[in-house]
Subunit: 313 residues, 2 copies
Amino acid sequence: MHAPFHTIAIIGLGLIGSSIARAVRSSLPEAALRGYDADADVRRRAGDLDLVNIVTGSAADAAAGADLVILCVPVGAMAEAARAISGSVAPGTMVSDVGSSKAGVAAALRDALPGATVIPAHPVAGTENSGPEAGFAALFRGRWCILTPDDDAPQEAVERLSAFWAALGARVEIMDAAHHDMVLAVTSHLPHLIAFTIVGTASDLERVTESEVIKYSAGGFRDFTRIAASNPVMWRDIFLANKGAVLQMLQRFSEDLFHLQRAIRHDDGDTLLDLFTRTREIRRGIVEQGQDVAKADFGRVPEEQAGSDAGKR
Amino acid sequence: MHAPFHTIAIIGLGLIGSSIARAVRSSLPEAALRGYDADADVRRRAGDLDLVNIVTGSAADAAAGADLVILCVPVGAMAEAARAISGSVAPGTMVSDVGSSKAGVAAALRDALPGATVIPAHPVAGTENSGPEAGFAALFRGRWCILTPDDDAPQEAVERLSAFWAALGARVEIMDAAHHDMVLAVTSHLPHLIAFTIVGTASDLERVTESEVIKYSAGGFRDFTRIAASNPVMWRDIFLANKGAVLQMLQRFSEDLFHLQRAIRHDDGDTLLDLFTRTREIRRGIVEQGQDVAKADFGRVPEEQAGSDAGKR
């Protein structure tokens, strides 16, 4: 397809930035790619991986001459990254980001870049791995990318950025930033906070050893450890940036947990059974809408082994 | 290998019971298999699937003449199942189970079956699916099976049951029942309770629709929905049976969650970063010890698609 942008600058070359670079190379090969990362070692590795046409020595150099600049840094580093490019972004240049919280980031970008066309974005995709080596072109395929343009954002700009993400395989949704932050607090931030917590709780026990926690993790715990292995800095920043919505969701969650705790204490099996029956339906919806694999246990037992062979996993 | 048992009766033909049947067929083909399920429809389906040599009309008929009887019913139904076979179990017959909580189940089995050799067991394996169709022979491969024999259990019996589970591909561990219940409360029961809770919380929100929860679940939430889709009756029973340990773990978890909540409220990023860095290590241990796949995102993006092709997931 015809590239919606000619020169794309990616600031931050971790999992998401490097995946965007790979996806652009694959789906929009006409576009020129410039990249920068604040970490010199990441810049060197990005060069070795040949992720972009030019790895620059500063964010300003990467942004100069680009018609799309995407900030792929932890949300706590967005303001600084925006200030770093402010001198080299021509008026009307589109600046976007990939942050998991939007209202605060949007304000920071607009403050630092008054002349730019700021359209915040959030591709709801990722893995527990970090760094430029962890990225891959298919990361955004079939996943949603949420754009949160201001009311006065040029329609043409929103459409161009939508076309960009669609070209990378994403499904695009437009949403108000505050609503985005509420939705993501429940579908992403709260689950991560809970996962970080429970993994910490398990590793702090005196009467159960860490090696026991690891050995018997197939009973459910291991599922939580995956998202609790995500980038620590990125997640610290998200919780601080989306504080209001996260605290609100935590309050709801705690109430619901105390309700179940009370049901267990009082042998109220009906309350437990009602909830557990209801939660099955949600899973069904997620699988039906292609947001997760339908395979049992996330397909951990390969289908060819779910038969009768004697090989070990 | 030479079968450690000649005739095995499986009471309860759901995910675990039917997986045992399949694994015995595959790894111990000399053993005769009898099966029973309290649900007539499950008995019929088990017959259609040819899971066992004979599907009997009662638990007593299945147990008669068996040298190993395995109760594969929800832990709340164990006492009744044990009473149902009490008249047909010859003195010294080995009776075991697969329940996820052990102290209470062990007491119930010993009460109902004073003449039998009771060796409780818990294969730490499963998927979110239920029913005889969901089982597969490889379910126990590389997973741990915990035996919780009494101090006065015959050593020979413990060894025979260990050999049985090893033949099915499991790694066997011997443990005190009370310690088992504490370990599993943290590695399995608490994670399930948290997952059920958060899925319930998400589906009860007024300002975020259920369809939004489903659409954006790839941000982390979908991982929780998998275990929240597990068998509701089985899980109700586990929480009631292992009440003491579950409530104790819940208390620890709540304290830790409030600690993080407070850190977020007071912008204490260091507390968050410290924990999030520590939790990464636990994941590493689980992957290194073969208790989870090393693939990013549980391998949801197949490796051949993590490249540059244009196909959809």
